[in-house]
Amino acid sequence: MLLRKMLRDIRHNFTQFVTIFAMVAVAMAVYVGVKSYGDGLKVSVDKVYEQQNMPDLWLMGSGFSENDMKEIRAVEGVADAMRYLSLSMTGEITYADGRKETFSVPMEGNFLDIKQKTVSVNRFQLIEGRGYDPDADGLWLGRMFAEARDIHPGDRIKLTYEDAEIEKEVLGIISVPDHVYVTQDSTVLFQEAKDFGWVYMSMRYFPREAMYDKIIESDAMQGFLSARDSLWALHDMGMSWRDILVTQLGEMDPDTDLETALELADDIANETAGEEKKHDFIKALDPHFNVEKAYTYPMVYVDVEGDAPGIYKDHMDDGSFEKKTDRVKNALYEVDAVDSVTGRDSCSSYVYYKSEAEEGDTYSGMFTALFLFIASLSVVTTMNRFVKKQRMQIGAMKALGFRNSKIYRHYISYGFFVSIVGVVLGFVIGLPTLGVGFYNMEMDMFDIVGGGIYVGTDSYIVAALIVVMVTLVTYFSSRKILSEPAAQTLRLEVPKIKQKKTGEKPNGIMSHLPFAVKWNLRDVARSKARTIMGVVGIAGSALLIVMAYGMEDSMQHYLDWEFSGILRFNSRLTFDSDITNLEKSDLYRKYGTATTQTVPIEYYDGNGMLQTSAIMVNDSDGMIALCDHNQGSHDINEGIPGATYSDIMAPGALFVTEKLVANKHLDVEKKLRWHILGNDDWYETDIAAVNRDPQTQQFAMTRMAFEGLGEDYEPDTLYTQMDLSGMDDEDIDGVSAISTSASLREQTSGMLNMISGMLGLFIGVAGALGFIIIYNMGLLSMNEKMYQFSTMKVLGFKFLKIVKIYTMQNVWITLAGIVFGLPGGFLFTDYMFRYAIGEDYDFNAYIEPSAYLIALAGTLGVMVFTSIFLAMGLKKIDMVASLKANE
């Protein structure tokens, strides 16, 4: 019977219960959707890292021999290590069946140790084709590029490195853990999958000719070539090859085949020799030459013993793995061949993915909390009002002899059932829409196979908490009424009066106020809970509007800061790693001498931990400006306020960004201990100045300060005010990439738009919820005052006057909400930019006055519209029925 009553009550109060239901469902959908996508990103990548054995450390050197590898593997804590070579190449793709036209793209070629029969670190995940085999004559291609270009096993790729070419068949399509996120180079912020590919293959199929060229370029070989004419002359004079060897080339192997070498020397010197002749020439001069031993592996993947904590479960880590990795890192530095050791926190794929997965955490948590808060406000208000409306029925049930516990169960079941159906629906809606939707959106950028959203225990806990909260609200709403004797419950609730409280004094200023003001002031004072809920709900809505527009403004401000305040060039040319001095001179002559050099370093932070970072040695004539705390731009050679010329030009004087000082607990009064990666000379130099940068937290130095250390300034980037947007790197010798400030801004803006699109969705839904609250508040307030308005109408108050009275209070509540909402919007946006976007960013909120005006007008407009819409009902009100209903 009571179940029937409950169903009918819900039907009769449909709008209010639907509001609770919708609030619970939407809040749950947003929470579980966003949480499952964020956790899905982390869990999926952790699975990939674990199953595919993501490297824990990367070593760099000029070349790791087999003996070096033995030494590395012998270091305590090293589980496995694998050497490789990685080169920037160009790939020309030819489809096996000619189904598409051949095309060329930049590619990264990775060549694995020829001795390695299986890939043990950074393992392949095979998507299509055959597994890795070092003896198989072909290559394995990255999945995202293959899918974007519809490339399958059987298609062919011609790789070009400098003048050397190799054409191989695609044997398999793969994913590898350290290529979850890749870009063509550091100038690309958002990589289109179709524009850049990467391959793995055995070193056995490395373009040998390029390797032979490198050997021939050595001083010894070049010396022999330049002496070839005189050697021929000695032979023509009758000297035997043996004598020539002993007398002229005494340091060479006695088994050297001098005759063959000299026969091939002209072709070699004239660059007309092919791969075979080059091999024979080298072999003739070096009888022990073994091509396999000549392969150069400048990089090594290292797997440290034990399981790395991973991104999702890192909160469960006690730091022991990190400590062990640090110990291994230090021990590896003792190996002679090792120039530098970097960890996952220097691997761009790992760092970017981690920051993307964690980025969602803070703002989604913040939005979800806001949602749940707004939803709970609505639930509290609505359930309270509903139970109050049931007062007489509760009294009747008590009078009939129902026990309190039975009545409690009955009323609790309203909240319980509505919330439980709401949370279930939240899961059903949230997971496939927000969860899967956001996850798939991210997967456009990341190469994760077999991953998906993940629903953790916390989602079920939140669901249970929502049900408990709604149920408790219902319990507390009915408890007050149920604690009264039945006879009292059957009477109307008498409002409490405190004659002396503010606004209730019958004399004084109150008596001079107009009726509408007086009536509304007293109504507000009497319905404190409803008023507070209204103020909070509207503050939330105003806050969300400010955030929505504020984020847009802040991002625009960031773009202006980055691309007008810091990057003040038109075009940027990144030098090839093997650019010649002649090419450099040519570039300086054409485009000017504004340059920088990025020097990778290691330094000890404020906690004594070794960190990896970089110094930008800046000789850019102000085209890469440094900003002070207030975002004022300065040429590094002029310093920034607070630093003298002698400070910034002193040998090794460093500039450091504010955020790096904070993140790494640096003491700017103390000297920083650092060294250039690959160089064992440690420096201890002063921090001369602190600057700000919105997205790159690192060090900077003047050229004079850098050269003062005895280091050679070797620029890697050139800046010019010339517009080179129509050119690409193939147009200019010695340049690997050309980017313009406009294209960089466009890329950054595109990436930010993706974030703001996601946030826009949250804000839109939250805004809609806010408006539902305003409507619900208005409806509740209208219902509560209906009989008073009916009395006024009977007395002869005109419709518009009643509307004015009703709207007046709502406008006050709205204005009060706005007073809290507008600064709240700024603070939330600022918090999000300062702390939520990632520790590499130094954003802050910058909100134009128009955002506040829109929030003010929007909230007020909706409230006035809602009030008038609800007040329209007064026009048709059945005065007598309304007054009788109150009786």
């Binding site: 006024m792 006057k801 007598v880």
Partner: protein
């Protein structure tokens, strides 16, 4: 005396879906000025509907309602508001005074809707509540609240005072006191107002000038009371 209220062939039909309910059926009625009229009838007879039509709270389905010489049956909502504001005083069984206003403010409320000079304090004194100007309704008894309601109704000196079960929620002594106040409004020194009281309490009929009996939407009888009883003599 002139007719204060004239109803000509008035019907009021309520429709609920397919069902029609005829609350008043071709009613003709004349009520003279300055009379104390009691409308009697059982529940559902149509007496409240009759009161609502006279008071301009509702429009008839057909027929004319003429009050003070004005046919209000075709008035718009706005004109009806004006009419109620200037010509009608209402008193309900459950007082319907605003809980967030003091006694004085509840009576002064009429200043918001009429330009007529209102002496709110005098109206309160007239109902014997001069010591309670600044009390709130919930600090008063039911009888006192009903007197506030009367003070609010008479403060603008309406030509017609309409009372729907004004003593229904009160004890006999308080009820008698309320009736005295209402009846006094018909006195010449008070402006010879017309007072119409709807009730199902037949005892009140004894003090009325005119008793109108309503049944099933029809006027069953209109009786002139030659010698209305003194209220103190009525046995409740």
């Amino acid at each position: 005396m002139a007719d204060k209220v004239i109803l000509k062939d008035v019907s009021k039909i309520y429709k609920t879906g397919e069902t029609e309910y005829r609350a008043l059926d071709h009613v003709d009625l004349n009520i003279e000025e300055g009379r104390f009229v009691v409308i009697l009838g059982p529940s559902g007879a149509g007496k409240s509907t009759l009161l609502n039509l006279i008071g301009g709270m509702d429009n008839p389905t057909s027929g004319d309602v003429i009050v003070n010489g004005e046919n209000i049956s075709k008035y718009s909502d706005r004109k009806l508001s004006d009419f109620r504001a200037h010509s009608i005083g209402f008193i309900f069984q459950f007082y319907n005074i605003l809980p967030s206003l003091t006694v004085l403010e509840n009576v002064e409320l009429v200043k918001e809707i009429t330009k007529t000079k209102v002496d709110a304090k005098q109206a309160i004194r007239d109902v014997g509540l001069e010591k309670h100007f600044y009390k709130f309704p919930n600090q008063m008894s039911g009888g006192e609240q009903q007197r506030v309601s009367i003070a609010r109704a008479i403060a603008k000196n309406p030509a017609l005072l309409l009372c729907d079960e004004p003593t229904g929620a009160l004890d006999s002594n308080t009820g008698a006191m309320i009736l005295k106040i209402l009846k006094r409004q018909c006195d010449a020194d008070r402006g010879s107002n017309t007072v119409i009281v709807v009730t199902h309490n037949a005892l009140i009929a004894d003090v009325a000038d005119v008793v109108i009996r309503v049944k099933n939407g029809h006027i069953e009888s209109v009786t002139e009371n030659e010698n209305p009883m003194n209220i103190d003599d009525v046995s409740w």
